[in-house]
Symmetry: C2
């Protein structure tokens, strides 16, 4: 029941073009050998996207999408709805391009995240829960700005795919790539790059058990809807979205499987990254290590994508204690 | 009262050769823009050496020194005395070269550090406090191995200098480089590279007030001796050594000044690096941010060297709380 015939999938060519576009704006993150992981059959490397200027990979897609608009369109500004890393990414990219950004956030968004977006110079528009998309559409109408979606767009997928390009450059003999899955933009892009450049490598998605709609969807062959209440149970607040038709089609095409991890395993992984790798990870960023620690991922040279590091101080303290 | 006429100083050529030698063995760390630092007059970048495989810059000097021995000498093995990052660096480098390593550590060394060196396959020799150098000399006699000193050697200085080479490559317009100073190998090497490649940039050493023998020594024009009891007062356990004649001569030649920081400022800097930069730093690694936060460093594009991330979990928890 492949859906790939309905949509055009992003290609390695799109990702290579994205890489040229975003190069000047992003951190070329290194691949870090995690010698402390101590499993000789599955040597581990970390791709630390937490080192991007806003603390997460999302800048890659945001810069690619906004750069592609072209200057005349871009000057009209951009609109995004997000309470998380995508908000900061769009606000930051807009500031770098010197264009206006409107970011729609639910009223309950922590003040620190609102302040961060404003700190980049973005106009933050607070709205009621569940109204984000409607308010964003109104803003697009009103301002003439372009909507930059968090994952449901080929330019976003291609931008995130540059992570995969860099993994293939730095470790061409990689055998397993473990990637967090939420809306699926990151996994779609990385999977596309890896399958093109390292065709023998497996690309394995990782989800919290409590938000494992994609694992279930891939099993049954079509997207499944989980309630937001259910998905909100996981501590991994960056992994509560669900794939779109576009990203799901990519995931069907490029993922070799999805591993699900328990909440306690995510916490242990955040601790281990801090104490052993000297990297502060948000819960969503640590799920790939949690999957690795289950021991169920295949033998071979393994890269885990640490997607972001934006964790509330109180939660980090609680987890490290 | 320059001492530089007595010793041959390491040159940019030595550092460039070191870079070619260590390239395959170390992480080419990125320069990370710390947009959160929020001082437009002094934009800040971080050079995160905590991302090296042993969590500190020391691998650069160790690999350079051991590689330079040449294969026939190298096979006799290496000896080092250190309870800190140099121990792990030499143990790790020896393991990579497949040669024996003896590491002399004081009996009171935390078990986690002894275990880490043994984990690399090194033979750890415990000794009484103050006996490290004597025991190491005996081991050299006994095993025929070569002593790899922690900082007092041109090959070590040249290896650490590759950090400066990379800073100059990534940010040729750098105006200030802030570097922790202890035995002075890192500051000597970085200073030499920066002065050669970015002659208008200032290189500023940073020391804890409680171990500021170098600040005092540079003021009076010769090395001064502080008791180990005095130096041990600082939480920055990696900054309790004192320069040798060789490194002091370099520091006289390349440093534009030394800033000293209080213990409380070091703690705040460790917190800020974790929460804002998503990097776990040991206290010694955070002193350059502490200096920056005093506001006394000059205007201009500023790079802080985060020298290492090896902090005891209990101390990290205490500082983050």
């Amino acid at each position: 029941m492949r859906q790939t015939e309905h949509v055009r999938l992003v290609t390695i060519h799109d990702i290579e073009e994205a890489a040229a576009r975003v190069r000047a704006f992003i951190v070329r993150t290194p691949l870090l050998r995690a010698a402390w992981a101590g499993d000789d059959d599955r040597p581990l490397w970390i791709k630390p996207e937490s080192l991007q200027v806003i603390g997460a990979f999302k800048v890659r897609g945001a810069f690619n999408a906004i750069d592609r608009l072209g200057e005349s369109v871009r000057t009209r500004g951009v609109v995004a709805y997000s309470s998380g890393n995508h908000a900061q990414a769009v606000a930051h990219a807009a500031a770098v391009f010197g264009i206006p950004a409107h970011i729609v956030m639910p009223r309950e968004t922590p003040e620190v995240k609102v302040a961060a977006a404003r700190g980049h110079g973005a106009e933050v528009v607070l709205c009621e829960a569940g109204q984000r998309e409607r308010v964003a559409a109104e803003l697009v109408e009103e301002t003439g700005g372009l909507l930059i979606p968090p994952f449901d767009h080929p330019d976003i997928i291609a931008g995130q795919g540059t992570v995969g390009l860099e993994i293939a450059e730095d470790l061409p003999t990689v055998e397993n790539v473990l990637v967090p899955v939420s809306g699926g933009g990151l996994a779609s892009g990385i999977g596309t790059a890896i399958k093109a450049l390292c065709p023998n490598a497996r690309v394995i998605g990782v989800e919290p058990e409590l938000a494992s709609d994609t694992a279930q969807g891939l099993r049954v062959g079509h997207r499944v809807e989980w309630s937001i209440e259910d998905r909100n149970r996981t501590i991994a607040d960056g992994l509560r979205s669900q794939p779109s038709e576009l990203t799901f089609a990519h995931l069907q095409a490029v993922l070799d499987g999805v591993v699900t991890v328990a909440e306690s395993e995510i916490r242990v992984a955040v601790r281990e990254l801090a104490y052993r790798a000297h990297l502060v990870s948000e819960p969503s960023g640590a799920v790939a290590l949690a999957a690795y620690r289950q021991g169920s991922t295949p033998a071979g040279r393994t890269v885990m994508v640490l997607s972001g590091g934006n964790i509330e101080p109180a939660l980090l303290q609680e987890i490290l204690a």
